[in-house]
């Protein structure tokens, strides 16, 4: 049985159907990318997986348990970082650690916070506030906060969407490095096909909202770590890229015909 599952999940806001019969199965330790154009319901799907919203029909299962509310076992890295601007970098992460591991001794909580700030190379900025950091640094704090909860699933909602191309590339490498270190189950939401190919084991194209559903998955059989420059000339990369685009486009046409 898959670790994280969505079973014919539907979600609409008022009369607008956002997701229609979405099925999803992700194995433990897998890094799956859900790719779709903006407005295709990616964030809605992630909210359902996180438990921040509940599906109208269908259900979400984590390790066989019905997901009914958000919790620290499904850490979310939000698109706009969602750091608390009045807390320092350290306090943002330790707020999570202190609340998730309430019964740990103080020293252990401190060690947990410190280790995860170290992981994203931000220990030197521990006393800064988010307002004093660059976008990339903020996203790293957000990532550290999510990882420090030691979640079973890490949900990344367009984590790099707001960053410039260079920072984005660095962060992609960073995410791959961190993921290879502890092999968490990761769901990455993105609108960037290349990013998904660089990072994911499998790509799920989310096709054409309103009433979006997931198309068949595209497996990414490229060796890790993936070098962004080398990969660009790899014929497999080009094939996967074409495949993802084709499925996104086919899905779009299908929805258009359906709604026409």
């Amino acid at each position: 049985m898959a670790f994280l599952e969505a079973q014919s999940v539907c979600k609409s806001y008022g009369a607008l159907s956002v997701l229609q019969d979405v099925d999803l199965a992700i194995d433990r330790g897998e890094l799956v990318a859900i790719v779709g154009a903006s407005g295709s319901g990616k964030t809605t799907l992630l909210s359902l997986l996180a438990g921040l919203a509940l599906p109208d029909r269908g259900r979400v299962l984590l390790d066989g348990h019905h997901v009914r509310e958000p919790g620290p076992d499904r850490a979310v890295v939000f698109q706009n970082y969602s750091l608390l601007p009045w807390l320092t970098v350290w306090d943002n992460v330790s707020l999570a650690v202190d609340n998730v591991f309430r019964d740990w001794p103080k020293a252990r909580k401190r060690e947990q916070t410190e280790r995860h700030l170290e992981l994203v190379h931000l220990l030197p900025a521990r006393d800064k506030r988010p307002g004093e950091l660059s976008g990339g640094m903020r996203q790293r704090v957000s990532l550290a906060r999510a990882l420090a909860m030691d979640p079973q699933v890490l949900l990344l909602d367009e984590p790099l969407g707001a960053l410039d191309a260079l920072t984005r590339a660095t962060m992609q490498t960073e995410i791959e490095r961190i993921w290879q270190q502890d092999r968490k189950t990761v769901v990455l939401i993105t609108n960037d096909v290349d990013e998904s190919i660089l990072l994911a084991d499998r790509i799920l194209p989310l096709t054409g909202g309103p009433g979006a559903s997931l198309g068949p998955a595209v497996a990414v059989d490229l060796a890790r770590p993936r070098d962004r420059r080398a990969v660009n000339h790899d014929p497999r990369f080009k094939r996967i890229r074409r495949e993802v685009f084709d499925r996104l486009r086919a899905g779009q046409e299908w929805t258009r015909r359906k709604s026409a």
């Binding site: 996180a50 921040l52 509310e69 958000p70 919790g71 620290p72 499904r74 850490a75 979310v76 939000f78 706009n80 970082y81 969602s82 750091l83 608390l84 601007p85 009045w86 807390l87 707020l95 999570a96 609340n99 998730v100 506030r129 988010p130 307002g131 004093e132 903020r138 909860m149």
Partner: protein, 339 residues
């Protein structure tokens, strides 16, 4: 504010001046002059026009109790009030000294007999009245804040509470202090009967009236601030499964703090305005009573005394507002607008 900025540029110029070449020095002096001209001249000009207009108007109006006082007369009246205060203080000190002397003599002649200490019974001076007013408004404001902020947090975070309290807020908010005051006075007379009165009844009534009227801006702004906390921040709280108290202290209050302070600032302003009316009617020995007493005695000094009070009230109100702004800067986090 402007003065502060000006001071800092001026002092920087002074500190950095010595090694500079003459032309650079001249340039710097010129820029300081320009800064002075920009920040100091307009208010001075405004003041001059105001004083001139006032003198002109004052000289041309004759009332039943004499001419309307011009700036000069009001200034003198203020001076007289301060002098009176100094006189009263000297008298009080002299009284204490005399009493101490008498006590000593008394105890020398009749050792072991009980000595009855007497309070100096002079009337409160203008400055005493200012202090009373400040104490009263402070008491009322603290009372209002203690009710308004927690209630606002409840209102903003629980829609049910919001819709339950909404109509009451709508109805009670526009009520004038003059309507509240008689009710408050009667209730205070009935209910506030302690063995040892720490506060005068008039003080309690005024403070409660101030609280009732200044409650609303803080309540409304707090609940608005709490209701508009960033959705993502609340989602963080949900993912972390923060307890209610942690959520309030770590997320809701810090994020609503700017609006809470806006509310408190408005509340203090309203409270200070209301206070004068409340004191007039409840005879709390503050600025309001001073104005009322002056109006009642109808002497040739009446108008200038009342004008002194008007300026005092305005000046203190302005200072209170500045103090709230400073306090807000102190407690809210620096990176405004940062996520």
């Amino acid at each position: 504010m402007m003065d502060v900025a000006l001071e800092s540029t001026a002092s920087e110029a002074v500190v950095a001046a010595p090694p500079a070449a003459p032309s650079a020095l001249r340039e710097r002096a010129r820029s300081v002059t320009r800064a002075v001209a920009r920040t100091v001249l307009p208010p001075l000009l405004g003041l001059a026009v105001f004083l001139a207009a006032w003198s002109l108007v004052a000289a041309s109006i004759e009332t039943s109790i004499g001419a309307v006082p011009g700036p000069r007369a009001v200034w003198d009246a203020a001076g007289a009030l301060v002098e009176e205060h100094a006189r009263e203080r000297t008298k009080a000190v002299e009284f204490e000294a005399r009493q101490a002397e008498r006590k000593e003599a008394f105890l020398r002649e009749q050792p072991g007999e009980p000595w009855i200490e007497r309070q100096y019974a002079g009337k409160p001076t203008y400055l005493d009245q200012i202090v009373t007013s400040l104490k009263t408004v402070f008491a009322g404001f603290v009372l209002a804040s203690l009710v308004a902020v927690p209630l606002g947090i409840l209102c903003g975070s629980i829609p049910l509470v919001q819709s339950a309290l909404g109509p009451f807020i709508q109805i009670f908010r526009p009520v004038s202090p003059l309507a509240w005051l008689p009710i408050v006075m009667i209730l205070v007379s009935a209910l506030y009967t302690p063995e040892e009165a720490w506060f005068e009844k008039s003080f309690v009534s005024s403070a409660i009236t101030v609280a009732l009227c200044s409650l609303w801006p803080a309540l409304i702004n707090t609940s608005l601030g709490v209701a508009s906390v960033d959705r993502d921040h609340l989602n963080v709280a949900r993912v972390l499964r923060l307890g209610w108290w942690t959520k309030v202290t770590k997320i809701i209050v810090p994020s609503a703090l700017p609006l809470i302070f806006t509310g408190l600032r408005l509340s203090l302003g309203v409270g200070w305005m209301v206070l004068i009316a409340a004191e007039m009617l409840s005879q709390n020995p503050g600025l309001g009573k001073f104005v009322w007493d002056m109006f009642q005695n109808g002497s040739s000094q009446t108008l200038s005394m009342i004008l002194v009070a008007v300026f005092t009230i305005g000046f203190i109100g302005c200072l209170l507002d500045r103090a709230m702004v400073a306090l807000e800067r102190l407690v809210t986090y620096g990176g405004a607008g940062a996520r």
